[in-house]
Amino acid sequence: MTKQWLIIRPKVLPISFHLDRRVPLVLLILTLVTLLAMIISVGYGEYPISPLDVVKTLLGLPTANGDYAFIINTLRLPRTITAFLVGVGLAIAGTITQGITRNPLAAPSIIGVNAGATLAAVTLLILLPNTPVSLLPFAAFGGALIVSLLIYLLAWQGGSSPVRLILVGIGFSLIAGALTDIMITFGEINTVSQALVWLAGSVYGRSWSQVFSLIPWIIIFSAIALLLTRELNTLNLGDEVARGLGSQVEWQRGLLLLTAVALAGSSVATAGAVGFVGLMSPHLGRQLVGASHEGLLPVSAMLGGMLVVIADLLGRVLFAPLELPCGIITAAIGAPYFVYLLISQRK
């Protein structure tokens, strides 16, 4: 009966886990594909570098051209790593959101992260055009946190409920979206175009300083998410069943929501609104390793990272020398996928 489970239960340590048997292989393949896409992505550009030279440079081996190290390490690598981290953050946030709302069509935007971040960033860009761009992520993260908390508090009625969370979330996202539109309408044309680029979701020109400010968020909150996978499993059965199993539903849901906001908020703050990654990754993950979150969460995270890395690469390759923001590519893939999901959900 446990044919499909991989059981880790060492004799010497008081630990035990079980995973879907497919998880290690799927994770390995996804990691290899992601690495491959990253190498190609780093090599691609106005100044092409062969994949072999990319690998050599990354490993610190000498290459034919001394400029490679500068181009790769300083200019191109941070961009690709940012893309990967943003994808991981959005995918985990999406998996959590779908789990706690018990809605397979939910995405981090439903808990107001995107709308809040966007509103804050656009407001800053338009009302105070002289603020340095480096402050943008902080404003975006603050906006995401405030709107998400407001949604959670307003949805609270002697307890939180997934349905109220979704409804209040949609309402608030629309209000924030309307305010963003007002800002854009009354803003000055130059700052507006700057805001619109940011809104499309792009990892263009991201540097190491942005990677280093994003990394702690992703590492810490991914770890928390991994520790909470069992809670996510029980919440996914509905509040009544979860309570019956002894889960402290409100506390766990609050903690998970905060984790999702931190992951999605920091991702959106770094790269703007890269859409549909949080929606698609958990679905693809479920098809690969099933619905149990112990395996689903890491697989979905890798899928998210892979998606954004590939989207960024495609955005540069498809209409070269014109460059499309990766958010447009994820939307172009994600929107039809969403429609497909809607249709298959009806059955």
Binding site: M1, G158, L227, G238, R243, G244, L245, G246, E294
Partner: protein, 293 residues
């Protein structure tokens, strides 16, 4: 027809007036005292006293909206009492840790839904939640209890199937298996037979009956079918407008008077030709019309 069963024995009160509190007794591991339950400003269960006989099957019956589901939720610690208490092994359940309660008492709500694509064994494994920690997520005992629960419910062969690909009866057995994996002495089930056809209802009730007998489980469930209730229950609790109308063996509780007061239905009580338990035959317009003709 011998209708001597009609008399309710003196140990159970039939009057709807408040009865004296049930004194704590070792045969009641789960009991409610002066329990008042409700949602927001509406009160649904008022000053209710009830002891659940340990190691027996107790069935709650009553009209729609009489508060039997609310009562079950209160007993399972899913609903905080407005006043009064529920005691589990003599301790106030609201002061016990959620996981401690979940190791003694399992609750299956009415028609639960599982996420898409979840397999039977994933679901049943979640029944082990109250025994697990961050580092101990799958002990040898977890594995054994899950295998046993699948075995008892004859779901072993379907363990790798997705829940949404199963029939109603199989799905319900999977949920029962999850609660069994929880390994509790007390099981609370809210209408476990909803949406099942008659043969699957009987199959499920037989399974629960066997469990109660072989494992001495205490089972409390809500059923809608009065005749099946009488057959499978050791004790019946008739609930009327948030109060206990009558408790006792099916023979003591299931009377024409009870059915009239609790369900607002005229009926005849006859003896089940197979089990000798009471059977309720409703008198509807169809019969009265024919008698008048």
């Amino acid at each position: 027809m011998n209708r001597s069963k009609n008399n309710i024995s003196s140990s159970f009160s039939v009057s709807s007036s408040p009865r004296p509190p049930v004194s704590p007794s070792p045969s009641h591991r789960l009991e409610a005292k002066q329990l008042t339950l409700g949602y927001d400003s509406t009160t649904i269960v008022r000053n209710l006293n009830l002891g659940i006989p340990t190691g027996k099957t107790t069935v709650l019956v009553g009209a729609n909206g009489c508060g039997k589901s609310t009562l079950l939720r209160g007993l399972a610690k899913l609903l905080k009492p407005k006043s009064g208490n529920v005691y589990l092994d003599g301790k106030d359940i609201s002061k016990l840790k959620a996981k401690t309660v979940a190791r003694k008492l399992g609750m299956l709500p009415q028609s639960p839904t599982a996420p898409e694509g979840l397999t039977v064994k994933d679901l049943v494994a979640m029944g082990r939640y109250p025994y697990q920690s961050w580092i101990q997520q799958w002990s040898k005992e977890d594995e054994l209890k899950v295998a046993e629960a699948l075995e008892i419910t004859t779901m072993t062969e379907l363990a790798d199937r997705a829940l949404d690909s199963l029939s109603g009866g199989q799905r319900q057995r999977a949920w029962i298996a999850m609660v069994l994996a929880q390994d509790t002495d007390i099981l609370l089930l809210d209408e476990p037979t909803t949406f099942l056809d008659l043969s699957h209802q009987v199959e499920l009730l037989d399974l629960l009956d066997e469990l109660q007998e072989t494992k001495q489980k205490t089972i409390v469930m809500i059923l809608h079918d009065l005749n099946l209730s009488c057959r499978y229950a050791d004790y019946l609790v008739a609930v009327q407008q948030g109060k206990v109308y009558a408790t006792g063996t099916p023979e003591q509780v299931m009377t024409e008077e009870t059915v009239r007061d609790v369900f607002n239905l005229e009926c005849r009580i006859v003896s089940d030709p197979l089990a000798n338990t009471p059977m309720c035959i409703p008198i509807g317009r169809k019969v009265t019309k024919r008698q008048e003709d």
